[in-house]
Structure formats: C-alpha cells, structure tokens
C-alpha cells in the first residue's frame, strides 16, 4: 500500500489547484514560474507512485487508494470519492505526463500575461487529474467542467486566427454535449434507485436490479451523444479542428490529449458496465457513424488540409473514430484496446501539437504548401516530428500500435466489413501524416521559406522545448515496448466488469440478423 503520509490522489488534484489559487491571490511572477515547475511535476510523481504500488495496494471493489471526503451532499449520495481501478490508472498516468509536458512547454513559451496563462493551465491540470481519480460520477463530471472552462478563456485570449469565433463555437458545442450527458447521468442516478452517484454503489445496485431495456437504451443514447459531442463524434465534430487550430499549444495539448478522453472514459467506466443492453442496442449505429463519419469522411477531409494545426486537429477527430469502434465492439479486448489507444493518442497528439507550434516559431506559418526543407536546419525537430507521425499512424514500437491492433482484433469478431473499412483508414492516416512531414521538412525550401530563413535563421530545438517533447516520446516508446505494465491492471479490471463481446454477423441458421451478446 501507499506508504505516503497523505492521499496521493488528492495531492495530485490539490497541488495545481492550490497554486492556481495562490496566483489568483497575487503571487509574484518569479515565484509563479518556480512553483509552477513543482505544481506540474507533483501530479506526475503521484501518478507514478500509484502506478508502482497499484498491484500491491489493497483494493476495495476493484479500486485502490480509495478515500472519501464529504462535501455536505451525502443526502444526495454525492461525496468526493477518489480511487483508481485498472481503467483509470493508465489515463491518470497519461494525464500526469501530458500535464507536465504542457506545463513545461507553457513556462518556456513567453506567452503574454504568463501568470494568468499558467493559472488557467494549472486549473485545467488539476481538473484533469480529478476526472480520472473520481469514483463518484458527479465529481467525475464536475472535474471535467472545471478543466473545460479554462479552455474557452485560453482560446479566446491567447488563441490564433478566428479565436473569438472558435471560442464561442467550442463553448456552445461543448456545453451542449455536457448538458446532454448531465441529463443522462441524472437519469441514471434517478432511474437506478441507488440514490447515489458513487460508481461502486451504482454498480452493486444495478448488478442486483438491472434497468429495463428501454430505460437502458434511452439513457445510453443520451450518454452516447452527450459524451460523443465532447469526443467529437461525427457529425458533431466541427468544433474540434477549429478550436485546436485556434488554441494556444499547451491548451491544445491538454485538451486534445487528455480532456477529450473524458467522454470515452465515461462511456467505458460508466455507461458500458452499467447499461449493457443499452450498449448492445446502440452498438450498430455507433459503429457505422464512427467508421463512415470519423474514420473515412474525416480521414479524407484531413488529407485535404493544407494547414498543419488544422490537419492535426482533424486527425485527432479521425482517431477518435477507432475508439468509438472499440467501444461498439464491446468485448474486453476491444475496450482494453480503446484504453491503451486513449493513452497512446493522448501522448502522441500532444507531442504533435507541441512540435507544430515549434515548427511555427521557425516558419512563421502553418500553411503546409509554403514550407519545405526545414530538416536541414533543424534535424532534431524533424526527427521528433517524424517519430510523432509514426506513432500517430500506429507503427509498431509505439504505444499506438497496441491500441489499434487490439481494437482491430475485437472489431473483426464484431463485423469483418467494418473492420476492413477501419483498416483502410490507417492507410489514409499514413498518407496525410507522412505527406505533412515531407512537406514541412524535406524537399527544396519554397521561395517564402528562404525569405523567412534569411530574416530569422531557424534554430534547432532549445532544451526547454526538447524536454517536454522527449518526455512524451519516451512515454510512447516505453509503452510501445512494454504495454504489459499498463495492460496487466487493465485486464484485471476488465475481467471483473465482465464486458461482453458482440457480433453483427448474421445468423444464417435462423435467417435473422441478430445482435448477439
């Protein structure tokens, strides 16, 4: 068990939030920067600590490090209950890593009004650690919203092109998604009759008294579309590329990398185990939406992008399609694949956003067709970018490979046709990924590039930029070569939650198209 004298999960949440409060109360800038290093590092240390001790820590109902703090709403079954199971542990660790990388990148970014910038980023980071550490569904939602608010402000104030429009559009879309999922969660709370938002109590209660099929279908539908908007399920994804395109880099890293996983995590941790027949009911529409919309259509749209940041934004929407497919397949192996992919995608998309901004600092443009030949001047940046692209495509050796592979395996059982379409998507992502890397770094420099290079000779990455990038890359490689370190606890939890595999394959014997569970 944890031999720390305090609750590591609470510490991971409270440190960034506490520093944010200090900054709001008027901490001087010098101290803000110094303490920010600490506040961004502590959550990662806590996450690593819990990872190391996870298998040896005593678990209650599948959760380790369980602690409850009352906030006065026990009458409604709401309390701040923190704990980790095999599904939340990988994401908690990933949030710690990406948070530190985003924090380091923000500190060196020399943004205007750096203090406020760091304060908002710290609030976001604290909220994110809270999302994955919460066992109480209410606080799970609450921390998500807490992390979401800074996004709107950061896009609006520090954003790039069209920031005002992007901030407004993001706010409205994401509020819509959040409201729909809130209604779904309230429906779950009231209908379950457990009189508790505590996930452990809900699971126990619903295992004994499952909900009627229609109720499950309705609630799962609400959660699927509500969370779906937050994860950019096609056709409600249009906020994502626009928002990421306009967002400042550290914010885009945290949002696309970590915060967006909230919806998927909610579906896996809350909706699937509690509403199994609702999930079966929606599996087919969800799979088709994801494969045609997110994977194929958005994949093709990504190929047509000529703006580096927009392209990364669209590619992240596309990769969310694979996650939805794994959820639709519903088997333990599919869900495990989704969790691994969420971790890998979080790391790789954060790395890509970070590098895209570093590219921009050297080229002063995001337009792909105006760049070229940067590799000669900045070999390290080029190498990192190509590695990040490989990771994003899902080549072996990187964490993404295991996630996608297991999803495809699960998908084949579900429906070979959908699986084939999804694999075709990998080809699309290889095309746009490699083409973008080629445009930026290889070939002859364009006339505009030579002009800019004459004015501002491009420097290779400084150590302050390199450190967060290497941190992310190291994590990607570590999990690529040793996924077992996360998948062992994950498997234990998945086995306990009894995910059932589904199949769309027509039962020829009876002649009925059936969705067997």
């Amino acid at each position: 068990m944890s031999n720390l004298p305090f609750d590591p999960l609470l510490m991971a949440i409270a440190t960034p939030l506490g520093l944010a409060l200090l900054i709001a109360l008027g901490l001087p800038k010098r101290w803000t920067v110094r303490l920010s290093y600490v506040a961004f590092t502590v959550p990662l240390l806590m996450a690593l600590h819990t990872w190391w001790h996870f298998s040896s820590a005593p678990a209650t109902s599948g959760y380790a490090f369980l602690r409850t703090y009352s906030t006065g709403l026990d009458g409604l079954g709401i309390a701040l209950k923190l704990g980790l199971n095999g599904i939340s542990l990988p994401l908690f660790v990933m949030a710690g890593i990406v948070g530190l990388a985003a924090g380091l990148y923000a500190i060196q970014s020399q943004a205007e009004r750096l203090k406020i910038y760091l304060m908002l980023l710290l609030i976001m980071h604290g909220g994110l650690m809270g999302v994955f550490a919460s066992v109480d569904v209410f606080f799970f939602y609450f921390f998500h919203e807490l992390a979401l608010i800074p996004t709107f402000i950061m896009v609006g104030v520090w954003g790039g092109r069209d920031r005002s429009y992007a901030a407004m559009k993001m706010t409205i879309y994401l509020t819509l998604g959040a409201m729909i999922s809130l209604v779904g969660l309230i429906a779950l709370y009231v209908k379950s009759g457990a009189n508790s938002f505590d996930l452990i109590a809900l699971r126990a209660h619903l295992a004994a008294n499952p909900l009627a099929d229609t109720v499950q279908n309705n609630i799962f539908g609400l959660l699927m579309f509500g969370f779906g908007i937050l994860v950019s399920l096609w056709p409600l994804h249009t906020w994502a590329p626009l928002g990421y395109g306009a967002a400042p880099s550290s914010n885009a890293m945290l949002h696309a990398g970590v915060l967006k996983k909230f919806g998927l995590y909610g579906l896996i941790q809350v909706a699937l185990p509690l509403l199994p027949s609702g999930a079966a009911h929606w599996a087919q529409p969800l799979a088709w939406l994801a494969v045609t919309g997110n994977v194929i259509v958005v994949g093709l749209v990504t190929m047509a992008q000529r703006d580096l940041k927009q392209m990364i934004g669209y590619s992240s929407v596309m990769h969310m399609g694979y996650a939805f497919l794994g959820i639709a397949a519903g088997s333990a192996i599919g869900i495990g694949g989704v969790v691994l992919m969420m971790v890998a995608h979080g790391l790789s998309v954060a790395l890509l956003f970070l590098l895209a901004t570093s590219v921009h600092h050297r080229t002063h443009t995001f337009a792909l067709d105006q760049m070229g030949g940067l590799a000669q001047k900045t070999p390290v940046l080029a190498a990192l970018f190509v590695a990040a692209t490989f990771a994003s495509i899902g080549l072996p050796g990187f964490a993404n490979f295991w996630g996608e592979l297991t999803i495809f395996v699960a998908l084949w059982k579900f429906s070979p046709l959908i699986c084939a379409l999804a694999i075709a998507g990998v080809v699309i992502s290889a095309i746009y990924g490699l083409r973008a890397a080629a445009w930026v770094f290889f070939g002859a420099p364009t006339a505009r590039m030579t002009e800019i290079a004459a004015k501002h000779p491009p420097m290779d990455l400084r150590w302050t930029e390199k450190a967060p990038a290497l941190l992310l890359l190291a994590a990607l490689l570590f999990l690529g070569f040793w996924p077992k370190s996360l998948s062992d606890p994950l498997n234990a939890t998945l086995a306990e939650l009894k995910f059932q595999s589904r199949s769309l394959v027509t039962k020829i014997a009876t002649g009925q198209p059936a969705l067997s569970r």
Partner: protein
Amino acid sequence: MNLEAVKLAAADNTWASIFPELTLGCLALVLLVLEMVLPKKHHGVIADVASAGIFGTLIGLFVRWDAWLGEETFSGLLHHTTAGQVMRVFFLVSALLVCLLARVALAKQLMPRVEFYHIVLVVTAAMMLLAQSNHFVMLFVALETLTIGLYILVGYFRTSTASLEAGLKYLIMGALSSGLLLFGIVLLYGVAGNPGLPGHTSQSMHYAELARFLAANPDNFIASLGIVLVLAGVAFKIGAFPFQIWVPDVYQGAPTPVTAFLAVASKGAGFAVLLGLCSAHGAFAAYQWLVTPVLTAMAAATILFGNIAALTQHNVKRLIGLSGVSHAGFLLIGVIAARNTPLALGAIYFYLFAYLIASFAVFGVMTHLAGADDADQELDHYAGLAKESPFLATVLAVGLGSLAGIPPLAGFMGKLFVFIAAFQSGARALLAIAALGVVVSIYYYFGWIKAAFFETWTPPAEAGSAPTRPARTKVGLVAGLTLGALALASVVLGFYQGPLGQWLTMR
C-alpha cells in the same frame, strides 16, 4: 381579526414573533427623523445606519431562529416555518446589498438619498411578511405594500425619462396583476363560502381552511378559475411568460440597485408565495391536476422566451432582465417538482441563494460601470474591462458563470438540484427544455464575458469628440470587499456545500 385579538396578541408577546419586520419599520422611521435632526454634512451616516440596522436585524434573526418555529400567530395570518425563516434571511441579505449598491449609484445622481433607504426598508419588511403569510388578506396587504414601494423606487430617478417611463409601466402592469390576483382571491373566497357546497367554510382566506375546502371539491369550476387568476397575479411578480412583457423596459429604466432588488428579492417573494400555494402541503394541493399543467406550460414558455429574447440584447440591463426571466422558468420547474419531491424545496432555496449571490456580483459591477444616465449601459462599454480593472472583470466573470450554471460555481449546483428534482418528479420534457435553455444562455452570457475579456476598447477616432462611454467608478473598500466576498461565495458554494448541503438534502 378584531380588537380583542390585538389585545390578546399584545398580552402574550405575539408581537415578538415579527420583531425583524418591526425593527425594519422602526428603522425606516428613524432614518427620516435622522434626516431632520442631523446637519446636512452628516447625512452620509444615514446610509450607514440603514445598513447597520439591517445587519443587526439579521443577527437578531439568527439568535432567535427557532423561537416561534411551527406556530401560527395573529389568528392564523402568519405561519412561522423554516422556509419562512430562510426567506427572511434572503430578503435581509438582498436589502443589505441593495443599500450598498445604492450608495455607489446614488453618488452619481443629484437625488434625495434618505427616502431611498427608507422605502427599501419598508419593502423588505413587506417581503418578509409575505413569505410567512398564511392568509390571503395578509398576502394581499404585504404584496401591495411591497409593490407600491417598488413603484416609487423604479421611478426614483425622476429626472430621467427612462426611469419615469419604467415607473409608469410598472405601475400599470402591477395594478393589472393586483387586480387579477384580487379577483382570483375573491372567487376563491366566494366559492369556498357557498353553503351549498360540501366543506364550505367562513374562514376561506386561511390557507389550511381553503385547502380543506378544495380537497372536498376537487373539480369546482369557479375555484379553478380563481386558482388560475391567483397564479397569473403571482406570475406577474416573478416575470413568467406570458406576463413577462414589462421586464425589459422596467429593468432598463429602473435605477440599477432597484433593478437588482426587482430581479432578486421581488422574484424571491413571488416564489415564496408560489411555494406556499402550490407545494405538496400548499393551499392548492388538491388542484394539482390544474396547477401542474398551467405551471408546466408557463415554465417551458418562460425558459424559451427568456433565453431567446436575451440573445439579441445589447443593453446589459435588458439582457440581465431577460436572463432573469429564464431563471424564473428554471425555478418554476422546481415549484412543479415540489408537488411530489421533497428535494425540490431545498433545490429552490439553494437556487435562489446562488442566484442572489451571482446576481448581486453582476449588478455590483454594473453599478460601477454605469454613468450619470443609468439606463445607458451597453455591452460595448465592457470592452477592455479585464485590462483596466481585473478585479471587476473577475467578479463579473464569476457572477455570469454562476448565472449560466457553469461548474464549479454555485449556480451549477442550483441547476443540478433542480434538474434532479425535476427528473424525480417525472417532468422529463421540461428537463429537456431546461437543458436546451442552458445551452442557449451560454451564448449571451459568454458574449458578455467576451466583451469584458477579449475585446479592446477603441476610443472615438476624431480628437476632441466626447468619449462615448461613461467613466468607470473607482471601487471603494466596502464595495470591493463585498464584491470579492460574493465572488468567493459563488466559488466556494460550488465546491463545498457543507452543513448547508446537509440541511437542504434532508429527507
């Protein structure tokens, strides 16, 4: 009630049960005396006396919190309940904050000051009685006292045509609503006193007696008409559709502190009355078949109208007025849920307090940004606020965020409680409309925040032309501390409800 009853009341200290209202009334008179006695240069102290008096009353209320709980006094005119006590606190806090805003707002006008505080005190006392009334006579007297006081307050800036116009509009609309209410009361009184009907009573103004009669005649047409008319009269006060039409003009024309008073305290008073009439143990409990559909239609239309109409507003007073209409709709959902869900009562009270805290934060900022022409407060005036006064901008953002229902602010918890109560009581369709309303409302609240944070103020291009927006008022110490406390309270109540939460969620 005859002379004997009054004597009786005096003999057994019943008067002590309404000591907060009596204190406020006496305080109001003291202010007038002070104005006559004190030399002119010391008149500034009168506002302090008013605020201190209200604060003292609040303390006294807490000290004697359960002295009269559960009792009916003055031959059943008043019923002292926990809900009544909570609403008393609500009105006293509102009055305290209104006095504070008035100090800032009145400093910009050449107007008599003392009468303003005097009327605020009287109106507050009336609201407190209204929230505890258990009898239609008491209800009507208290309601008229409060409404007449508000007529004067709305038209208080008598040199401003907008203020006068608002006062006149409020007077006409208010008189109409009083007429409807009175007609409804009379119909109920008449039908309940009809000796030909079962359960008829001579005390039919008394809620409990009326409830008994209505239970014995669950489908009487005249009684139904009376109930609908009473609801219509109250709907005027809370600004619910289709009686919300006065809201934008009156809110814009009234002095900003009065707008705040109308938006918060007057609305709270309306809901206190509605809860007394429509909740599970209210006077109209037997007519749920009628009350629920009427209120449901009203709530749905109110939420949609308030939010959609607010989208196109550029004047912040109109904007917050219409957003207040939509908040009345959310609260109406709570009232509907209160018929069968115990949680709903706690939800409404939490919502009201969260609304009070957030609204006064926003109104406080508005008061500091307003110029000599109080009605002229445009969204454009907020451009660049974050750079010029980060403090006011932060308070504004927290207040608006709480009104919009964004976690981790108190407004979100209020909405959450109301939504849970609505779902428990089975009002699913309303819940869907409310969720939609929240999304729409984000647009205009966010637009306001955007104006303050993201936009920069560009002064008129030609040199020498007058600036097109009023100068910002410097934030004083007391005002600054209060606004800071309000913002902090919005944040803390969103995170941690503590004993308050335990009390609210008690079953």
